[in-house]
Symmetry: C2
Subunit: 500 residues, 2 copies
């Protein structure tokens, strides 16, 4: 198959491909820079299948690496720039990376890779050294495009092997839901090392659309970029979308161009969606559920804003066209409508496996089905409802409590800005339901518990609630780090939750 | 991979899947009928890979066969119902068909197939005999879904082998251009044995949209169905679209629901597009170019109505996202921008080959590129312009004349309803440019020649023009049968055009 960039160069060579700060490049320029980058990497001795890692915030050079490294037959390894050196060392060693691009000086990695190249001057010097005559050659669709390390929040990291065909399938699934063309202007708001940041790169490039890059998330800067560049599409994780709505209400910008807002990466409260819809009434809301292992789209809920008063507002959508979902019992058998089980995903978007991890691969990939570890059910119209990750389910007095349901109840109180619910050790109940709440207005704990009791069963109502002034801890991708909140309670317990 | 019908049954089981005359079925009913059909065919002794042919006009049973036969692991062979018995015999024998469904009694085929089943009572009896417990099982994406006989207008027919993956790729390419959802109502206007009729089946089913079936083309009936069922999408060949515009102007219906009109299958005059846009101003026009061998989409020109005054109005669009096009010289080397050569197509949509025809397959499929036999060029923005099929090019006095350019000039005269241009033997020029014109108003031949002379070079202006009162001959798919017009002139020539 041909590089999507080659198509973009043909159909949109003179159009702006990317805007990042003061820098802007057309597709012809981007393609030329990518050819130089490939030539530069080859000049360092890299060949087909060699791994190239990148650690840094979003920038146009990251976007070039994202396109050029796979187009050059090499394998991209995007790493979380908030990871500690030990975590980076693990991923670099595990992947056998030869060249590492970094935005900031990282020490203690020199022994692991052949070259460490600074993402600014060093990168530009490499391009200048690379002759521009490296072609954007065809690639084998079944070949590896990237190793995407995952599991940062759930234990030992695994390198998810995504092929060119995986990424093409994902782009097709996204395009089947939203129409991309040369007028598309996509704001990359989430970190590019994460699927939430890179989800639309292929579809945007293929159609000659424009990328607008947000270096690191800030709601005011995001709105400024949307207004200045007439951004049409973006994807945010729930915490970003909530902050974007708050900022737009506090200091409104002219953002009528923003017609498509996707969200994913974490459960979202309906209240957050209501605020987003009220704040950006001209924008279509799209709920995306997936995993790095599914490239990432598994389910889609388009036009979600029309469903805010329907039961489907709690759903993460239906299987993307071309993707199959099964709900499985513990023994692997398929469950019926409305029964809670593990979600499994099959399709051309499902990863080739975990790098160097045959056992984990065999456990996760069974007969082509990727077992997500997420719990949910499907209704009679095919809508999927996530209840929790298996390990986030709270078992209290023999009852299963899904933390998302309790969080959803808390979010429906006007004073709740953020909420996290998890189980803590309890001598009577085994686990007790506990909540950490960041209020946006003054509120009493008893009032919150009474509010919950009006919405959910007694045994689900938090036994204890902690009020905090500071924001809850989040990963670089904006995901709530519940394990950090939970850990202190479980430190002295022999009954530690595996991998939690 | 899973049957698209299984997804439709899940997400849109209660929605209407198909309307055909007085008959309407939901997706749950359609899926059940397809399960019975598969069971019925198995009861006749058919197994994986066996061929099932159908000869008949469009109807809901044809749509069921189109879905059930491949879903049951068998291979569908849709045949042209206007073919002579000798042509049908060839295709049935070549394909080794076991079961033939026919809408009308066909005699002289009984010796070739095991079962001939009438498409009405016989079909329903087969369904009644088939238990409903045949599952819509998974299919191998690389397995054969259908044999589509092509070449009816250009010599010996060949069975184009399309796999499930080919058809899925085509559906993805169409969905990337037009958004399909449960509100989609697609009028099947072209014959279903042809790619123009079946092009959107997969995308419509996958998304739980509705099919409205036009049994055989008639512009008044088409408009009545569009008005009655609030049809949103259709595809027509140019002659159908021209007739639809004329009928709507003569007897307007309320057809504001029709927002998407695709056309393809034959070159179209810009004037035909202008009339269509003026007649259906709320509809987006989409030009599709392709071939049975490319499942069929190769290029797409969306929102064509915006380009009617631009040079791109003569283009058939740009490569569909996921499809590559190359323009090749006679020696197979790639040509540059604006150079005329043979179009070659590569992508997941390209056929597996011709059934039982290794030599023709080797000639047509080279390194994954399907050589179309069509001549054209690509401009600097990636737009493709077809000039002619190689054998339709006229060589007159050493100059190449593309018949489409001359036809385009003729169509720009208000009195021209239909025009066909081809070369006839000429002792002085080798070939002379000849035109057959069906006028819609009184017009003199000299006036038409003067009109052409104002638009195209002298050597391209028809040396002779024949005026006819009756419509030009067309294939069942609505394609102009130029060979029938041309044949009488070449009958006595030793210089017969191969395959013409």
């Amino acid at each position: 198959m041909s590089s999507p960039l080659r198509r973009a160069e043909l159909v949109a060579g003179d159009d702006v491909a990317v805007v990042c700060g003061d820098v802007g490049y057309t597709y012809a320029e981007t393609a030329e820079r990518c050819r130089c980058l490939i030539a530069g990497l080859r000049g360092l001795g890299l060949g087909a299948g060699d791994r190239v890692a990148v650690v840094g915030g979003n920038c146009h050079r990251y976007l070039e690496l994202y396109q050029a490294v796979p187009a050059g037959g090499m394998v991209l390894v995007p790493l979380n720039h908030r990871h500690a050196i030990a975590e980076l060392r693990y991923a670099l060693e595990d992947s056998g990376t030869k060249v590492l691009f970094t935005a900031s000086g990282v020490e203690g990695l020199e022994d692991l890779v052949e070259h460490i190249i600074d993402l600014r001057a060093g990168y530009e010097a490499l391009l200048a050294a690379g002759s521009g005559d490296a072609a954007l050659a065809d690639v084998d669709p079944t070949g590896l495009a990237g190793l995407f390390y995952t599991g940062g929040t759930t234990g030992a990291a695994k390198g998810v092997m995504l092929t060119h065909r995986n990424l093409v399938a994902n782009a097709m699934h996204l395009q089947a839901c939203w129409r991309f063309d040369s007028a598309t202007r996509w704001l990359i708001a989430a970190p590019m090392f994460h699927a939430a940041g890179s989800i639309a790169v292929l579809a945007t490039v293929w159609n000659g659309g424009q990328h607008v890059i947000l270096p690191s998330f800030d709601p005011g800067t995001a709105l400024d970029l949307i207004a200045e560049h007439r951004v049409t599409h973006t994807l945010m994780v729930p915490t970003m979308l909530a902050a974007l709505s708050d900022e737009q209400r506090a200091r409104p910008r002219e953002v009528s161009s923003l017609r498509h807002i996707a969200h994913g990466g974490a459960p979202i409260a309906t209240e957050t969606l209501r605020r987003a819809h009220a704040t950006f009434p001209g924008a279509e809301l799209l709920h995306i559920y997936g995993a790095t292992e599914t490239s990432p789209i598994a389910t889609l809920l388009p036009r979600e804003e029309r469903l805010l008063d329907a039961p489907q507002s709690r759903s993460c959508g239906r299987p993307a066209v071309g993707v199959e979902i099964a709900i499985l019992a513990l023994d692997g058998s398929a469950l019926s409508v409305d029964e809670v089980g593990e979600l499994a995903v099959r399709g051309a978007n499902v990863m080739a496996g975990y790098w160097n991890k045959p056992e984990q691969t065999a456990a996760a990939l069974i007969d082509g089905w990727y077992h997500t570890g997420d719990l949910g059910y499907q209704d009679s119209r095919g809508y999927i409802y996530l209840v929790d990750r298996a390990k986030d389910m709270i078992v209290t007095g023999g009852e299963n409590v899904y933390s998302t349901e309790v969080e959803e109840a808390l979010y429906r109180h006007a004073a709740v800005a953020e909420a996290a619910v998890f189980g803590i050790p309890d001598s009577r109940w085994g686990e007790a339901v506990h909540a950490v709440v960041v209020p946006r207005a003054r509120v009493e704990i008893d009032e919150l518990r009474a509010h919950c009791r009006s919405l959910i069963a007694d045994y689900k109502v938090p036994k204890t609630i902690e009020l905090r002034a500071e924001p809850l801890p989040k990963s670089a991708a904006g995901k709530l780090l519940k394990r950090e909140l939970r850990a202190p309670y479980w430190r002295d317990q022999t009954l530690a939750l595996a991998g939690a």
